[in-house]
Subunit: 154 residues, 2 copies
């Protein structure tokens, strides 16, 4: 099963970029995954796209048939173990691809939220998108170490 | 009001160290705070201290009269706005110091949990202590930008 992470705009904090790189290199030992950076600004204009325009971009990027996970502070929370079981469940259902959509500063457009198979909340707290990206990839890595029954530091 | 963060052992991930440094430098424009690193290993033996031994160290380090916040996945969750209001509340109650205790891999000893004025959960998910340190300092910074009515990227 392939995990596809869709980010709006490049990572801004250098330390987050390093952290995402670190976990990406660990995660690739366990599963297939890609990170796709979509533009958050309009071409030429340099103007921030609206949540609707960003949503359209995100949904266009998702391959048909993929499970869609939308990150949303008000979504469902999982323990790391439960998230790992959720991945098992997708695999058992024959899901080929899971796409993770992280929104812009104004959150997701209603269209994106309603397209979600799962609204996933990492925390009730608000984080920067950059931090959410790091947390998501760390939890994916953690989920696979849990699946593999491996010891990973807490 | 002063915030005192107590960490068991040094930060292991270099990118987290950078991130903590980044937010520490931003946070100091808003409030007084310190980070204290306590040893997680026994002197000479190089052996990991038990949760009880670590708890004793943590509690000894806390000045009397300080509010004690113990980070615990099963604790109370706050939105970033509610956490900011919690800080306001401490200030209005005349709290001089708030101490944040982050546990070791085996979690906190019962003594530490029962000494807590607040059991704070950042997420239902399990993170590394390093990540919890980064999240905590980022949320402190965010709380102060919320208090100041400032715009800070999400």
């Amino acid at each position: 099963m392939k995990h596809q992470l869709f980010f709006l705009g490049k990572i801004k904090d250098r330390f987050i970029e390093e952290g995402v790189g670190e976990y990406a290199s660990r995660l690739q030992h366990y599963t297939s995954f890609t990170i796709t950076i979509l533009k958050e600004k309009g071409r030429g204009r340099g103007k921030q796209l609206t949540a609707e325009e960003q949503g359209k971009l995100l949904l266009q990027a998702v391959p048909s048939g993929a499970a869609i996970v939308v990150l949303d502070a008000k979504g469902q929370q999982f323990t790391s173990e439960a998230f790992s079981r959720k991945i098992d469940q997708w695999e058992m259902q024959g899901t080929k691809q899971v796409c993770y959509l992280i929104g812009g500063p104004d959150g997701h457009a209603p269209k994106v939220r309603s397209a979600a198979d799962l609204l996933l909340s990492l925390s009730k707290m608000t984080f920067t998108h950059d931090m959410a990206r790091l947390l998501l990839i760390e939890q994916l890595y953690r989920a696979y170490t849990i699946k593999a029954g491996e010891q990973y530091h807490k």
